[in-house]
Structure formats: C-alpha cells, structure tokens
C-alpha cells in the first residue's frame, strides 16, 4: 500500500483560493506552500505580505493570484501590520477571520524580527508564517541569518563561506511564551494541512516555520524541489514538530501551562546529512569537515528534540 496524504479529496478538487498565472519560478516551494496553507485555513483568511518573493508571485496591481484579501506591507512590518489588521477586524466583529502574516526568512529572521517579537510578546491573535527558503531570494540570493552553514549565496560566495549556523528561530519564538509553534514543510502536505487547520482554533500568536525550496537559490533542478525538501526532514536537518503551551485541566477547569513537544515525522530511514547536501548545488563548496560538523550539530539537536518530546513537561529554557 502507498502512503497517501491525509487531505480530504473535496478540498483538493474544489475551487482554489489561489489561481494559476503566478509569477513564481518553476518548481517554487513558496507557491506550493501557499496553496497547501490555504487548504487548511480556508476562505476566511486575510494575508499580509511584506517584501519577499511572494510580493512578486502574487502578481502586479490590479491583479492578484490570491482569491483571499492580501495586503502588501513594508519589509520589516509583517507582524505589526497583521496586528493592525487584527485590531480592525476585531473592531468590526469579524473574529473568525484568520490574519496570516506570510514572510520570507529575511523578513522574519532579520529585518522583521523586532516587530515579530513585539507582536509575540503581546500575544496578538495572528498567525505568523515564515516560508523559509534560506536566503534573500527575491533580490537575487543574499545570505540571511536563516542561511545554513556552508550554503553558497551571492554574499557568501566561494572563498568566503558562511560559517555561522542558522539562527534557532523556533527557540526564539518559544521564548516569547506563544501558545503554538510548529515547523512544517511542503514535502509533507498533510502535515501542513493539519497544522494550518489547527491554528484556526488557537487564540494568540501562532508561529509556523515552513521549509520552502527555491530551485534557483538552492541550485537544484526544479523537478527535485519537493524531493530534496523531503530529504531535509529525513536527514533530520529540518525536523517537523510542534509545541503547545497550554493544556486543559479538568481538575482545575481551566487551561494550565504544559509545554508539549510533538515530533510529527520520524525519518523512515537513516539518511546522512551529506546526502542532503550532495543533492544541492549550493553546498558544493563545503569541506568534509564542515559537513561532519553539521552532522554532529544535527544529531545533537535531534537528541534534544527527542528528549523534549518524550512527554515530560518542560519550560522552553530547559
């Protein structure tokens, strides 16, 4: 029997909230990601997009590929703009509408982090999605703090290799005590669907970190973009998990704090990081030592994750 994706068939065949004609490159993970995200969120969604590839993908005024309202906002303002839309909708009583900030890794890890931190600390009722293609792709592949060690970009070319590990955005966000944080990826459509459906019912700041392949930026064949993204999870470079802060206590009759990590996808097979890197043009300049270091870090982080996910109540600082 084949592993099939657990997404209701009606959803895949009904009228799309995203229409083709998009300006994304061939094999772009970002357009696929939006399509799948909207399967979970549904029509009652407002999308807030700062400067990033998605600004372009959606099309130029007066056209929009997205069939839900979308607001283009300045690069560093995704979260705060979403908070503003939220406030407006609340004032109109449209509580059921989800406001989704949809930003790139540059817009999230770097320039937008202060406004994101503010919104998260206030626990504004927004969904913040970082579709992470691991560099500033729209402006032609510059390094961001989400770019992995060793990846080629135009600002980390051969000879000045990136040595700094990718920023740990998950733990940063969890340090804001938000109610929900998850990682997901376009290679696992039903994982995405499940998480985007779930966040509709959680109040407060929800953060989803989504791995989104970029064929030109990753130096890969467009046809392989999903396959290689799947390898990221299989090689534990990008584990798929979710963290919830609250649990309903029957005894107390109210929510109680209970940090729960759940790993959603366990690798089916042993896949060395090396294989994942070998598959991509952007990692070709890495030395064997560097790859080994990455493997060690990946293993350590996976062990930590397993430990956190074993059911013990944890605080994010542990």
């Amino acid at each position: 029997m084949q592993k099939t994706f657990d997404i209701p068939r009606e959803l895949m065949t009904e009228e799309e909230l995203l229409q083709p004609g998009m300006l994304s490159c061939q094999g772009c993970g970002a357009s696929l990601a939006m399509k799948l995200a909207l399967k979970g969120l549904g029509k009652r969604t407002v999308v807030v997009i700062p400067a990033c590839c998605w600004t372009i993908i959606n099309g130029v005024y007066p056209y929009s590929a997205l069939q839900v309202p979308i607001i283009h906002v300045p690069f560093e303002t995704a979260a705060i703009s979403a908070s503003g839309v939220r406030a407006g909708l609340d004032a109109r009583g449209e509580k059921d509408v989800v406001v989704m900030a949809w930003a790139g890794d540059g817009g999230t890890f770097d320039i937008g982090i202060q406004s994101l931190s503010g919104a998260a600390e206030r626990n504004d009722d927004i969904l913040y999605v970082c579709y992470d293609n691991e560099a500033y792709m729209n402006t032609g592949i510059q390094r961001s703090s989400a770019t992995p060690v060793g990846a080629w970009t135009t600002t980390t070319p051969a000879g000045s290799i990136k040595e700094e590990p990718k920023k740990d955005i998950e733990e940063i966000m969890l340090a804001h005590h938000i109610p929900y944080m998850a990682t997901t990826s376009v290679a696992y459509p039903d994982d995405m669907y499940m998480k985007f459906k779930k966040v509709r019912h959680i109040t407060g700041t929800k953060f989803i970190h989504l791995l989104s392949p970029c064929p030109p930026g990753w130096r890969i064949d467009p046809s392989k973009s999903v396959q290689i993204t799947r390898m990221a999870t299989q090689a534990k470079v990008f584990p798929l998990y979710e963290v919830r802060r609250w649990r309903f206590s029957k005894k107390r009759g109210r929510l109680e704090e209970n940090w729960k990590y759940t790993i959603n996808i366990y690798p089916d097979r042993e896949l060395p990081v090396k294989e994942y890197m070998k598959a991509q043009g952007r990692f070709q300049q890495m030395t064997e030592d560097m790859v080994n270091d990455v493997q060690e870090r990946v293993d350590r982080k996976w062990d930590e994750l397993i430990r956190k996910a074993d059911g013990r109540p944890l605080t994010p600082n542990e």
């Binding site: 083709p20 998009m22 061939q26 056209y63 973009s225």
Partner: protein
Amino acid sequence: MAMKKRSEMAKEYDFTSWRDFTPMNISLGTMLHNMTGSWRFIKPIYEDKVPACQNACPAGNDIEGWIKLVQKGEYDKAYWHLKQEQPFPAILGRICFKFCETSCNRAVLDDYVSINELERFVGDQVDLSTPHPDLPEYNGKNLAVVGSGPAGMSVAYYGRLLGFRVTMFEALPEMGGILRVGIPAYRLPREVVAAEFAGLKNMGIELLPKTGVGKDITLNELRNNYDYMFLATGVHASMKLNLEGEDQSHRIMSGLGMLKKVALGEEVDLGDRVAVIGGGNTAIDAARTAIRLGADATVVYRRSETEMPAHSEEIEKAREEGVRFRFLAAPEKIELNDDGTIRKLVCCEMELGPPDESGRKRPVKKDGVLFDIKTDSIVTAIGEIPLFDYLNKIIKTENRVIEVNECLEVDAKADGKAKIFAGGDIIDMPHTVVHAVASGKKAAIAMDCDRKGVEFAGVLKKIAIGDGPAISFSQYMGWSPINPVRQNNSMVVDSEKIVYDYFVKEPQVEKKIQDANSRKGSFEPYSDTFSEKDALQEASRCMHCGRCTECDNCLIFCPDISVLVKGKGHFGYAFDYDYCKGCGICFTECPRNAITMIDEETPIEIDN
C-alpha cells in the same frame, strides 16, 4: 473530455493613468491572463508504462492489471484479464520459474510480491473448463497442432481466439505433454491439467490423443489437409551416459521415462536405493518421486550445487524430503549382477575448472580418484533431446532444434499446402513452460498476420512489451487496457524509477507448505492456494509500477495548480498546459513513474 478552460475566464485591464486606479488600490482580477505555460520547454504527460515484472515475464503477463482487479475483489475479471497474455494461470501459478518475481521492484523495499501465488489464486477462482466468453466466428482456416504440451495448448487457445479451427494431435494417451507426464502430480495435480483441456475442448478445439504423427498419421497428410501447422513435440528422449551395460538392466532407466510411467500409472521397479544422475529439474523430480515411491534417493551431479540448473526452491524441497546429494561425482562404470540387477555404480571424483561456454565451471576429473555408490537402480537425467523421425527430413533441423524465423515459421520445402510453425522445447529457446506458452502465442499471431497478408515484423514492433521478447495479444486484438490512459509499451519501469519514500514496509504473506514428512509420503499437492484474505493482503503489496492509481500526488504537489481532476466517471487527471510551467515536480513525486516528461515540441496527441 472537454473542460472549461480557465484561461477563457482571464480578464485584462488597461490602465493608462493613476486616475484609472481603484480606490485603496484594490485588485480587480486574477492572474489567469498570465499564461505561464509559455515558460515551459518540457512538459508532463500521463502515460502508463510496462512494470518490471511484466517485462520479465516471457509471456508478458499483465500482472499489475489483474492484481488491481484482485484488489477490487473482481476475481472473475482478473481471471479473464490474466488469460489475455497468459492463458493458463492455474498451471503456471503452480510450476512457473517466476521470472516476474525475480525482477519485482518491491524487493528493493522489503521483499518481492508473491506474484506466482496470486496467479494461482486467480487461476483457481474460475472453473477452468469455462470456455472463453467471447469466441469469434471461424475464420475459414484450419490449424493442426502436433503435441499437446504447453506450447501446443497455447497456440490452440490463441488460434481459436483468432478464429482458426484447431485440431490437436498427441501421441500419448493423455493430453498435456510434460505437464501431464513429466511434472509430478504433487507439483501440478492431474485434475488441473485435465480441466484446462476441458476448457480448450469447450472452445471447440478438437483433441486427438493416441494419434502420433509419423505413426498414426503422416506429416504429409497433415500438410495437405491443413492451412497451418504448429509443431510442438517437445524433447522426450533422454541422453545416454554412454557406459557399458547401460542398456542391459531393467533397473537402469531415464528420468523422464520413469516419471512418465508413474504419471501413466505403470509399474516401476526401483529397488530400495536409487541413484539419480544429473542436476536439472528432471533429476530433482525423479528423486522426489523415488522418495514418494518409498526408495532412498541420491542425486549424483558432476558439478557443485551452485551450477545446478534445477530451480533452487525445488532443490531445497528435495533436500527437506530426504533426497541426498553427491556433488562433484560422475559415473564411470556400471557393474551388473548376472540377473541384471546392479552391483555397484563406480564414480569418479570431479573438480571444477575454468568456465565453459555456458558460463558454468567445467567439471574435470580428479586424476583417478574413484569411489563406489551402492544402489539398486540408476535413473539417468542428464538431458532430454527431441525425436525428429516424424519430420521425415521434410523439415530442417540442426543441433537438435528446428530452425525457425522471426515468426516461428519453419523453413519447409514449399510442396505442401500448410505453412508450418514450431515452438516450445524443439526450437532454440529456454526449456520452460512459460517460454513454451509464449511461443504458442507468437505463432498464433504470426499465422493470423499471414492469413490477413499483414507483415509480421511491423506488427511485432507495435505489440512488443517493454524491451523483452514478449508480445501482447491484447494489443494485437486492440483490447483496451484497464486504465483508460495513454500507454507507452516500450518504456519499462524498473526500481530506479520508483519513489520508495511513498511505500511502507509490509512483510510477504507466508506461504503455507506442508512439512517434509507429510509430503514425502504422498503425490498430493503440498501447498494450498492462498485464502482470499491472504491474496488480498499480498495483492495490496503491489506498487503498481508505471500505472496510475489516482493517488493524487501530482494534484497535491503541483505548485502551479495545473493538475485538474477529470471528474466523476472519468479516470485520472489532465494537465492545464495553459499554466503548467514544466517544473516536473509531478514527474518526480509520482511514486510509480506514471508521468513522463517530454520535449515541448514532441508532437503527441493528448486527450485531455
């Protein structure tokens, strides 16, 4: 199927100044006017291909097709579908050497699918004597089949489906060739063979046992009375050891001769101990038969086990049943008692030298090291050869085979009426039942082409399956495949084209075989056909290589929303080439390679 094109809904706006802008700059329309299909230089098409198993089957059995029907519980349909390419599932489901299983792509993941057991299950679902439900009118030509083994059975079956009036001539009192008189009943029950013949008879095929050609009727008579002839007389004489005394004892016999006697209910006198000389299937069957007749059996083979031509599974079963093996030994001398019984068999120790033409290591005598084997009888099974006397030198033979051309037509002097074809063990081909069946199918099609005056070589190209020699009867007949999608019959889907990420490990269903002790006392079959539950479980392991299962992966993964579901009552999907950018994700993520990427310029008619 005509679908409303999305591009027809596209609207464009021609703004000439900022005054045309909407208040608050609200967008007005979709991006549908931007036909991104123009970016494409390669494009995906839906195209079913040839699974590795089907490619490996000499008969081109459409395994994936009938397994799909089994999964749906449509056993009747599965039976008739299977018979399109391989007419005798109940027989081959029991005794085939399973070329398919050896190339099953599933083996890379866990273990091959037990195709042969499933074939047997399907074969046992329908009364074998049921004639084909869709028999055509006779086409006015008659066909004489000489020999009732699997090659003859196959040509008769397909010949009748093509409208030939078929008569089958068999020298022996029983029909079935080796199936009836060679392969022992514990592997292939007599009733199964008999029921298949009942089926052939019910299709209007005339069966004439006890009618030896060259004995009861001459080849020339047949040549003058029939439009077509098919020779499939098999290899029924045994090679000699060429030792003194070989012909002077009733306790020395050929393996096939002994099996034949047992099969026809005649007495055989083996004594208590039997030495079987040889390493092929005949040797193993003879030894296992001897065990069932209460004797001790030792197989004496001049090479080692790895070189044995017998099927390894059969060797294993023989060993379990108590057959002993003496490898690297060759008979040197037979010493007889005065009453014709055997005093001893003197053998020579052998060792393996460099490989011979067959690629196996050549056995060479270890200088003068002799030893005795105490035995009461000797069964020789060192190879079977054909008896070509009945051909009366009308037909050319060379190196114990009849020479045939691409159509399996024999080069006969053109002084008779019939066109003569040959197949099975008497032509240069591996000696297996499925190869024999394949030759019968091919000859039937060749005869039909000849009847219609169509060039066979051209047809052959069109109906070839994958890269193997197998050809498709169903394609010759123009029958529709199970999936109503474009078919690519030359591209084979091997394991490299399978996306194993999408398959979960699932152990093979265990085959229930009686233990050696209970099976060695009986000629009854020692294994049962799969139960329905087992069959469904095993069938569910099929990965449907190369054939769309409507799993939705392409639909889910298309980043450009360019895969459309054809809708109720229609199979599969259609690409929206107005927008498909040709990224190829659908192609890479299709678990089973049912999508092909082709050059944008390739002229191909796609029925969307």
